[in-house]
Amino acid sequence: MRTSLTSTLLRLVRERAHGTSLRTLRREGVEKVTVLDAGRLQEIVEQAVQQTLLRRGIELGGGEREAFLAEAAERVRDLMRERDDYRARSKALSEEKSALSRQLTEVEQRFGQEKEKLETRIRSSHESLVREREMSEEKLLEQQEQHETRMREISSQLERERLRLASQIDVLKRDLDITRSELQNVRAAETSSVVRERELRAEVDQARQDAGLGADSSRVPTGAEELTAEEAVYLADPAAGLPDRIRTAVEELLKQRELRRGGRPLDPAEEAAALREGIVHLSIGILNDLRRHALVQARQAQKERIENLERRLRKLKGNLATAEELLATAQSARDEDSGVASLSGDAQGLDPGDTRYQNKKKLLEEIFNQNLHLRGLIQEGGVSDA
């Protein structure tokens, strides 16, 4: 039995021992090794088992003792197997740990690289955004400044325009008054020309009566009436058809003389009277036509002048109205910017939800007190840097 246990123990030790050389041991700093032979190992095991049994008050017989030793040897084998299993698992776990550790390092490296890349990208995009924003803000500010400069220019132009318009309105009003008075004068002159025409007509009638002729039944138009087609004839040059007219009148006189004579000799006195009457008739007719021509022409000129004045009046009134409208617009445009209202979505003052509420409150109080002190100094007139 003893030999069996010893051989078992030796086998187990051999199976689980690992080989090494003296050189290796020396390199590892081992100079001396402790040696345990198989007999001593068996003695130790048996001794340990014996002592355990004795401590527990068990005295074993020969057969029992052998069986016990065999079981103990088996137990030792089990324990060593378990230890081997643990070692194998430990080794596997250690290898797994190393692999995981390598993986972790790789992941960390990759993460670091990605992080750097991302940071670079974020930095560059942030810089470009800031640049863009600055550019757009600059542009906005430039536009705003241009707009305000333009507004100021417009305002100044409007003011100048207002002054110009005001002065233009004064001029227009003066022109209007002058034109109105001129029109009144023209109308008065027209009235006086109609009166004068009537006087002339009376004088002509008187002359006709004096010459033994009847009153002229032809109607003389007033200045206010439109010209008829017959009257419009008198606008033509009266001298143009005068020779033909005189020739026709003389021929008519001669024809009447021949009719009166009827183949007998005429009384010279009668002939002279008839001739005189014919010539007077002709002269009065011509004078009458000339007078009519002059009157119609004067009337036409008067009419044109009145129309002209009325057109000027209308234009002046239109200009005045436009100028007054522009003036009103200019005056209202001077203060057209009524401002931008201040808006608030929450209560004014420090936000109680602010994480630094107490700190800020204290700071604001200090600023207020400093300003109050400054105000006090100003009011006392005792400002001095001392």
């Binding site: 924003r133 500010l141 705003q144 400069t149 009134k317 009524s338 608030s344 936000d351 400054l374 100003i378």
Partner: protein, 412 residues
């Protein structure tokens, strides 16, 4: 006009009316329609940074819940070079801080105005008594022995007119109360603060003053352990924020700013561009267009007149040198502020440097300051604010809006 004239002219006016009234209708809407129905889309806020404080929270999500508040809050950044204004009605505007008054009757008649501002004043400056009333961030001649002189009085008037113009540009409604916060340089004297208050009180209903760098930090909600650099034309203000209102020792004002860069650039160009003629305004324009401090940059070529003929000059290195000149003094000031800060928080402060103001638009300046900080202080992180021109005005507007209404009432 006589009654007869009236009677006679009426029909004609009536006849002419349809035509003119249609013109009036076409021209009238801007004023009338805005009065009745303000359109948010018409406003000039275009970015999130430009949104008025009144739109915070629910208002931004539900614009239809907006209502007229009856009070127009204004944030004004009265800068040496530019004045910026932001209003709670969404209007933002900036213009050069210059004023011109017609020199004589002829000029007044020609210009048609009593006073001109900004770019318009620049353009017409030969016909004007021209004022740039702010220097080193404060009203000229109002400190010291010249404070009672005519020059000081004119500069005070010019500054007051700039404030009035800024308020006018906000386009507030006539029936609204106007409450304004004006940002002033970190170390402005009481006399100068009074000048600003006096200038504003003529046109606004209530006014308060606050430090510009503080306003910038407040507007960005960065009140703890942050160092604000506000690079203006007249001054560069540095202010460290520690959660309280900054004291005198928390602030440093330098004159190494935009104007100093202009002067140095002018001196460098005088040496480089022999025979070229230029003015400070031309130098300023060149700087504003090309300013940079990077090592790598495209060549900057500018045309300057030489005996009347435009002549191209390469001014790349001069611009870089002039712009870089403000870096060392700024970093020295940063060092002073950091070295006197609580040692436990020095590291945090170094890594929280905010840069604003018109000068912060110099290309590569944040990186240059950061590098200089790393060389001299071991570390540093500088961030340029997104809206350098409006950062101060936005912050002042935020202060104005957050200030309790009762405080405003007491300041009236």
């Amino acid at each position: 006009m006589t009654p007869e004239t009236l009677d006679e002219s009426t029909p004609n006016r009536g006849a002419g009316k349809p035509d003119t009234s249609s013109k009036t209708t076409a021209a009238a809407p801007p004023g009338s329609s805005q009065k009745k129905d303000p359109v948010p889309g018409d406003r000039t806020w275009a970015t999130a940074g430009g949104s008025p404080p009144a739109q915070r929270g629910g208002a931004a999500d539900a614009p239809n819940q907006e209502r007229e508040s009856g009070v127009l809050y204004l944030g004004i950044d009265l800068g040496t070079s530019r004045t910026a204004i932001a209003g709670s009605n969404g209007v933002r505007h900036s213009f050069p801080s210059v004023v011109g008054y017609p020199r004589d009757v002829v000029a007044r008649k020609l210009l048609g105005k009593e006073v001109l501002f900004g770019d318009e004043a620049f353009k017409k400056r030969l016909s004007l008594d021209f004022y740039r009333p702010l220097e080193h961030g404060v009203i000229k001649y109002t400190d010291g022995k010249d404070s009672d002189s005519d020059l000081a009085e004119m500069n005070r008037k010019a500054a007051a007119d700039i404030v009035k113009e800024a308020v006018r540009c906000a386009r507030g409604r006539k029936d609204e109360l106007v409450y304004a916060v004006i940002g002033c340089p970190a170390q402005a004297s009481i006399t100068n603060q009074r000048g600003l208050v006096d200038a504003a009180r003529e046109i606004v209903d209530s006014v308060m003053i606050c430090s510009e760098p503080f306003a910038v930090a407040y507007g960005l909600n960065r009140l703890d352990d942050v160092l604000v650099i506000d690079i203006g034309a007249g001054t560069t203000d540095l202010c460290r924020m520690k959660g309280t209102l900054p004291d005198a020792e928390d602030q440093i004002t330098l004159t190494s700013a935009g104007d100093a860069v202009d002067q140095l650039l002018a001196a460098l160009l005088r040496d480089k561009c022999k025979g070229a003629q230029f003015t400070v305004n031309m130098i300023k324009e060149i700087k504003e267009r090309h300013a940079f401090v990077d090592e790598a940059s495209d060549p900057v070529l500018v045309d300057l007149p030489v005996e009347g003929k435009p002549t191209p000059f390469d001014v790349t290195s001069e611009i870089r040198q002039a712009c870089r000149s403000i870096v060392p003094p700024i970093v020295d000031a940063i060092r002073k502020l950091i070295s006197t800060f609580d040692p436990e928080f020095q590291k945090v402060l170094k890594n929280n440097v905010l840069m604003g103001g018109g000068g912060s638009q110099i290309r590569g300046l944040a990186r240059a300051i950061q590098q200089e900080m790393r060389d001299k202080l071991g570390e540093g992180n500088v961030t340029a604010v997104e809206e350098p021109v409006y950062a101060g005005a936005n912050g002042a507007l935020q202060v104005a809006h957050d200030m309790p209404p009762s405080y405003w009432e007491k300041m009236r």
